[in-house]
Amino acid sequence: MSSPMKSLEFGVGLWSALMGDLHHRGQGRRESGAFLLGRVTDTAKVVYDWLTYDELDPQSLKYPIVRLDSSAFAHLWEGCATRQLEVVADIHTHPHGPAQSRSDRAYPMIALTGHIALIAPNFARGPVMPKDISFNVYQGEGRWHSYYRSDAAALIKIL
């Protein structure tokens, strides 16, 4: 029997602050994204902080879609080490719906089995609720499991 999937937990205020930051950085015109940093417990992946794609790679906001250079990841690992946190998920915005695009599926930001990639619709124009998000779990070798609406909301806990 496979182990139950870990939920993604956000502290009070963190969720809405994250959505506000993503919307602000994309200015409602382009996609933006972030890596969610936290700790993994027996039952959950707990988010404590985030680093946006444009903080890691200032060039990433030059494109209407998300593009991250390889060197951004070395900066990200340094950010993890400084905070003593690990990458527990990533998130990026879409102009319309939350379903993964072909490139989203082909280019996992983190290629670890069980890594969570969230997609926020409407450039994260608020308010964005967990049920609006797609919750995509990487299975390795280009395969994903995706959850939407109530299934996604059940996996995102705002405490």
Binding site: V66, R67, S70, A74, L76, C80, S103, Y107, A111, G140
Partner: protein, 160 residues
């Protein structure tokens, strides 16, 4: 019959070619390799075969094969740390270990599928240097320094 041996070292910028008789033996090969470092090297240097952990692997060779790849280093081991997504994996390797082998080990330790690993590279921490797969890690560590830290980074990511 003369053969070509390819030498890397902490003190060489590029791969040197050592021409030697195939039946010369380990001691003469060691001597010929030391000459490539220049005169007056008083310290002890160890000679290793590429990607071999066994210090005495030369004894298993009936003769020096054409294209043998070796490494000269003052250290017998280099401590390697690979960072990925906030996780570190670490172990000690011979200086003659290739970047390709270190990457295979690190991605396996981290649980990254082989097909996903093909899109990843090791970058020397704090630099933009992404050494080729056949580079020996000993070339990145000059004694008494004995540690090298890599960031495992993917090819550019596009999400749309």
């Amino acid at each position: 019959m003369k053969v070509n041996v390819f030498l890397q070292s902490e003190l060489l910028r590029d791969i040197e070619v050592v021409e030697i008789e195939s039946d010369a033996g380990h001691a003469k090969l060691h001597e010929a390799c030391l000459l490539k470092l220049g005169e007056g090297r008083g310290e002890e240097f160890f000679l290793f075969v590429e990607d071999e952990d066994d210090e005495r692997s030369f004894e298993k060779l009936p003769h020096i094969p054409e294209g043998l790849r070796v490494h000269l280093h003052r250290l017998k081991g280099v401590d390697v740390i690979v960072r990925y997504a906030g996780r570190d994996v670490r172990r000690s390797f011979r200086p003659s270990t290739t970047i390709g082998r270190v990457k295979r080990w690190a991605t396996e330790e981290l649980g990254i599928a082989p097909t996903d690993a093909t899109e990843m590279m090791l970058q020397v921490h704090g630099t933009d240097n992404r050494p080729d797969a056949d580079t020996h890690i000993g070339t990145l560590v000059e004694a008494p320094q004995h540690r090298v830290v890599f960031d495992l980074v993917p090819s550019p990511r596009v999400n749309g």
